[in-house]
């Protein structure tokens, strides 16, 4: 990938990363590394912890996720994130807006393609 393409991708991701993080929690609680891994597996590339954890912090501050630190029986403790009702409502609303935006972008790009 060229630097320019990577930069562009990074800015796309920046606009939607909080929604993606919320979306990974719809199936139940999860922790930082697992969230990053799910996003990577979905083809969104490796999201560094330096980017992910500040987003998780902001979501927690906004009350969209709740966090609980649990010490594991084996291995180190982890902070588990859980989608709150507010988070669920925000995700639904913002996803609609994103999809509408995506549709407009597609329509314009498709016209430009012809």
């Amino acid at each position: 990938m060229t630097t320019m393409a990577a930069d562009r991708r990074a800015s796309w991701l920046k606009g939607v990363l909080d929604l993606l993080v919320l979306a990974t929690l719809t199936g139940g609680e999860s922790y930082g590394y697992e969230i990053a891994k799910r996003l990577a597996d979905a083809g969104l590339g490796q999201i560094k912890g330096g980017t992910l954890y500040p987003v998780l912090n902001r979501l927690e501050e906004a009350g969209l996720v709740s966090a609980e630190f649990r010490v594991a029986d084996r291995g180190p403790g982890r902070r588990y994130y859980h989608l709150t009702d507010d988070g669920r409502a925000t995700l639904a609303e913002q996803s609609r807006l994103w999809l509408a935006f995506d549709e407009s972008v597609r329509a314009v790009l498709a016209r430009g393609d012809r």
Binding site: Y31, Y33, P76
Partner: protein
Amino acid sequence: MTADYFADLAARLRAAGVPDDEAAATVDDLAAHVAESGTDPEDEFGPAAEFAAVLRPSAPAAEPGPSDETWRWTADAFQDRRMLNRFGDEGWEVERIDGAGRFVSRRDPERPQRWEYRRETVLPGRRAALAARLAPDGWEPCGGWVYYEYFKRPKAATLGPGAELPAAPETPARHLFWSRRFYIFLAGYALLVAVAVAAWFLLGDPGGDGFTGGFVGGALAGAVLATIIGVASVLLRNRRP
């Protein structure tokens, strides 16, 4: 190397006012992340100083505590940066600039932290881009005045635990810090206007019919007066305690 990174990060979080158990949990969680991903912590999270600065906002200490002191003050543009850094070193964190142009500052009297500040000149519409450019270095916007944008950064970001003050110095009794240069500037400006008005009356329109001279002179004097009132009201509105 990994242990050093996390020890440093924990110390910086604590220095930024994050409670000990909260800092320990955060560091454990992040250590689990690198253990699982097999990455180097600095690669994964960036330098500890910067990462601690971006993690800090969620810390309870970032919320104004009931015991926090608040102090509103202002300084002219000739010395605002010097005063900001002086009071930042005394533990004052500027939260915003209020409608009257004062720096609204607060300080935790129990665990005062040192702050540093910078001021940037910004064109309309460029604030977000400027903030984005400075954010990787840990600078956070804390208010704007006309075309100046002010940024703050906890000294914990560069000094680590050493940024905590052993005790909070007394809250300054003053609220207004105008420098001699500012008074000279105001006096110079008033003098310039006075000279311009006097010159018009003494030299302007010598062959006129009296009415034109008087009318134009009056109009000009009115315009000058309006300018003075305008400039003064902006200065006073924005810069008075």
